[in-house]
């Protein structure tokens, strides 16, 4: 029943076995990785003295709708900062990409960092490239089984630590971790940990370069930010291929002079650059969409060139123009424009953050009933004032009103309200007024809030309207 028609609809993934490499970019990448993991895994444990609120340096408190970032406390109303932050991040990415290509992918992307960690585990348990390929081809033995199982256990452990750490950012870490292991943590904590564990394991362990090639949106649109001046990882074709192409090192093609005489390039076709590539491409075929600019092929080729005593940089960071021997500019109108917009966005965000109002008030008019008539013929409207103290000190506030001649404000026995640090409060206020029939319908006025402690905050106001029914009063 197998009658093959020779069409391919689906191609299985060809496994990639990146080989380890040493070099300056690899060292740099290990440095960045160590730093990033240090920050990520330790930050939830960093304590921070605050007058009010938790003593965790970074805490995203969803239940209380407050984000704590060191000395900055972000309230629900400040959520637009997040928009600003994302905008700055996007612009920064554009700016950097147009100058230096995909440095984000190669050095800072979580996918790259975690895949690096997983590859390290894989190498420690199963050996380097050749050993891994041999192991995969060999029949199932106890040794193979053990190594495979151990790899996956370590991967899962790394994924679990990642997921658990992520969860700790959303609660008081020392408490939450105890609750987590004693089964008392909220459901969301378990769900988040599980989700992050699974995604980390699948993305860094199983999907790897396929994430960059098929899933990542940035990989899709970064090409529009590239131009002939952008720094990319490139193979120097002229030097590597010469006139007669690349050739292995043989007895009569050993020295540079021999090779030049015969028109052979400097690439010795050792394939090291291909073997180290985590996305499994051959950079000698030119810039490809899969290349994440991790520069490992540079390290690989530099090692080879170094051992031969030839000039390094057969594969190097260069731009299309440079590769053609032309002058290449870094600052050109497009980059400058990106840069200016980026600076403007950063300035706006900083302005927004540094001008966070320490005290806020909003007013909602009570609509049921909209008004009542009082025994002396005046009309009464009621309001609910929502006051938020964003400082870390308790505040004593006087509530006043302004803008309705002769109106009386009644906040009951609360001559002044006291509101705790980082707390909000609702106050019910009544306003009584007799317009003497001069005004009907709605009339605007303002509530004022005057800090009695910390007067440097200054008075703040919120608009409100008074409804005066028509007809005689």
């Amino acid at each position: 029943m197998t009658d093959s028609a020779s069409q391919v609809l689906y191609q299985a993934r060809i496994p990639i076995y990146p080989r380890s490499v040493k070099g300056r970019f690899r060292t740099l990448k290990w440095g960045i990785l160590t730093f990033a993991y240090g920050v990520y895994f330790l930050l939830p444990w960093l304590r921070w003295e605050r007058n009010a609120g938790p003593d965790q340096a970074v805490l995203f408190d969803i239940a209380d709708r407050k984000f704590y970032l060191f000395d900055l406390v972000m309230h629900a109303q400040d959520l637009f900062w997040l928009t600003g932050f994302l905008l700055v991040a996007a612009l920064l990415l554009f700016f950097v990409t147009s100058i230096a290509g995909r440095v984000f992918c190669g050095y800072f992307c979580f996918q790259t960092l975690w895949t690096d960690l997983y590859l390290l585990i894989e190498r420690l348990v199963q050996g380097d490239r050749v050993a891994r390929i041999r192991l995969d081809k060999s029949p199932w033995t106890a040794n193979k089984f053990l190594r495979k199982v151990l790899t996956h256990i370590l991967w899962l452990a790394a994924a679990f630590l990642t997921g658990l750490t992520f969860t700790l950012y959303w609660g008081n870490a020392p408490e939450l971790i105890v609750e987590w292991f004693t089964g008392k943590a909220p459901f969301a904590a378990y769900a988040t940990t599980l989700f992050l564990t699974i995604t980390t394991y699948v993305m860094a362990g199983l999907a790897r370069e396929q994430v960059c090639t098929y899933m990542c949106p940035y990989a899709r649109f970064q090409s529009v930010m590239f131009d002939e001046d952008t720094r990319i990882v490139a193979y120097d074709v002229a030097r590597g291929e010469g006139k007669a192409g690349r050739h292995k090192v043989t007895r009569d093609l050993k020295t540079l002079e021999q090779r030049q005489q015969q028109g052979v390039g400097e690439c010795i076709d050792c394939g090291y650059c291909v073997q180290v590539c985590p996305t499994g491409i051959d950079i000698r075929n030119g810039l490809q969409v899969q290349c994440i600019s991790c520069a490992l092929c540079i390290d690989a080729c530099d090692t080879i060139m170094g051992s031969l005593g030839w000039d390094k940089g057969l594969i190097r960071y260069t731009s299309e123009k440079q590769a053609e021997g032309k002058e290449s500019r870094i600052l050109k109108p497009k980059t400058i424009a990106y840069g200016l917009v980026l600076l403007a966005a950063i300035a706006a965000l900083l302005w927004g953050v540094s001008n966070q109002a320490p005290l806020e008030m909003s007013v909602v008019q009570v609509r049921q009933p909209l008004f009542v008539r009082l025994s002396d013929g005046r009309v009464q409207n009621s309001y609910e004032l929502h006051i938020e103290n964003k400082t870390d000190q308790p505040l004593k506030l006087a509530i006043m009103m302004r803008g309705l001649a002769g109106a009386e404000l009644d906040v009951g026995k609360l001559s002044s309200v006291e509101i705790g640090p980082q707390r909000s409060l609702r106050v019910h206020a009544r306003v009584r007024w007799n317009s003497g029939n001069r005004h009907k319908g709605s009339r605007s006025f303002e509530f004022d809030l005057i800090p009695q402690t910390q007067p440097e905050i200054g008075m703040i106001s919120a608009p409100a309207t008074f409804y005066m029914p028509g007809g005689d009063s």
Binding site: L374, S375, Q380, E418, I419, R430
Partner: protein
């Protein structure tokens, strides 16, 4: 993946051919898809064991090892099998916000009215709790926000308090209820006299009326001929102990004077009240609400109109 691209698997057919050359492709599902499917099957079986799953007659399988235990509001320990209702009940008793609000409630329970009224946080808490209580119990008559219904149920948001507007008075009104009664004067007064009394009552609050008629009404009101002053007082200002209305202010709870346009209509409205009398009952709530609930409602109602 550039030059290593080789056909990994050619598409297979089922081997049949119809009409000579029509073949049926055989494209098996990818393995990851199949495994994901098997995983859902395993998940379903595990789920059946641990969670409520199968209908059995009029009941259902409840699952094993999934008990939810919590201490109910009356102090008894309850254990139920897993279901979302039990989860909710547990959360209502032991959840973070439930615990917090219970702590706050205890604070309010322990405080006297003077303290509550002077504390912004307690007031805000009381209000948030009492809005629900008021909505469940009081709103059907007094309306959301206590606006009342003209002629039937008093407005609680104004500054007129038939039975007194101090917290003590309000608490008594809510827990013991009130019975408001004004006799019908249809038998006592003739039509002319009813008109006169109505005119006098209107004049008390500065409404425009026929002054001669009002003078005659005043005599009926202030002497034993009519006897209105027994309850409303000689000056017409009402008496809290009786729940009798203050007739000299601008608030009308039964005769819709502000809603009438012409003086004649206003007079007719008042006259009808005098002729028919008034009977209003506020039920007592001491049986239905506990002390704390009444306390919360007292503070809320007091705050609505500003109290006394």
């Amino acid at each position: 993946m550039s030059d290593t691209k080789k056909p990994q698997s050619a598409v297979q057919t089922t081997g049949h051919a119809w009409d000579g050359d029509i073949q049926e492709f055989n494209n098996p599902l990818p393995n990851w898809w199949l495994w994901a499917f098997y995983a859902t099957v395993v998940f379903a079986v595990v789920y059946w064991i641990f969670y409520p799953a199968w209908p059995v007659g009029s009941s259902y399988t409840t699952g094993v090892m999934n008990n939810i235990t919590f201490v109910d509001s009356d102090g008894t320990e309850k254990t139920m099998h897993w279901n979302t209702r039990a989860l909710l009940l547990k959360d209502l008793q032991e959840g973070k916000s439930a615990t917090l609000s219970r702590e706050y409630l205890e604070k309010v329970q322990g405080a006297d009215y003077e303290t509550i009224l002077g504390d912004a946080e307690m007031m805000a808490f009381t209000r948030s709790m009492a809005v629900g209580l008021f909505g469940d119990n009081c709103m059907p008559c007094h309306g959301a926000g206590g606006g009342g219904v003209m002629g039937l149920f008093p407005n609680l948001a104004d500054d007129d308090w038939l039975w007194g507007g101090t917290v003590e008075d309000i608490q008594t009104t809510i827990s013991d209820g009130r019975y408001g009664f004004m006799p019908s004067f249809r038998e006592t007064f003739n039509d002319q006299q009813l008109d006169d009394v109505a005119a006098y009552v209107l004049s008390l609050s500065g409404q425009e009326t026929d002054s001669a008629s009002a003078q005659r009404g005043k005599r009926l009101f202030q002497t034993s001929a009519g006897g209105c002053y027994y309850c409303h007082g000689t000056d017409g200002k009402g008496m809290k102990s009786q729940g009798s209305a203050n007739l000299t202010d601008q608030i009308w709870t039964i005769a819709d004077v502000p809603g009438a346009d012409a003086p004649a209509q206003k007079r007719a409205a008042v006259k009808a009240v005098v002729a028919n009398g008034v009977q209003r009952t506020m039920p007592h709530w001491s049986d239905r609400l506990d002390k704390t609930q009444i306390k919360l409602l007292t503070v809320y109602v007091h705050e609505l109109g500003g109290g006394q």
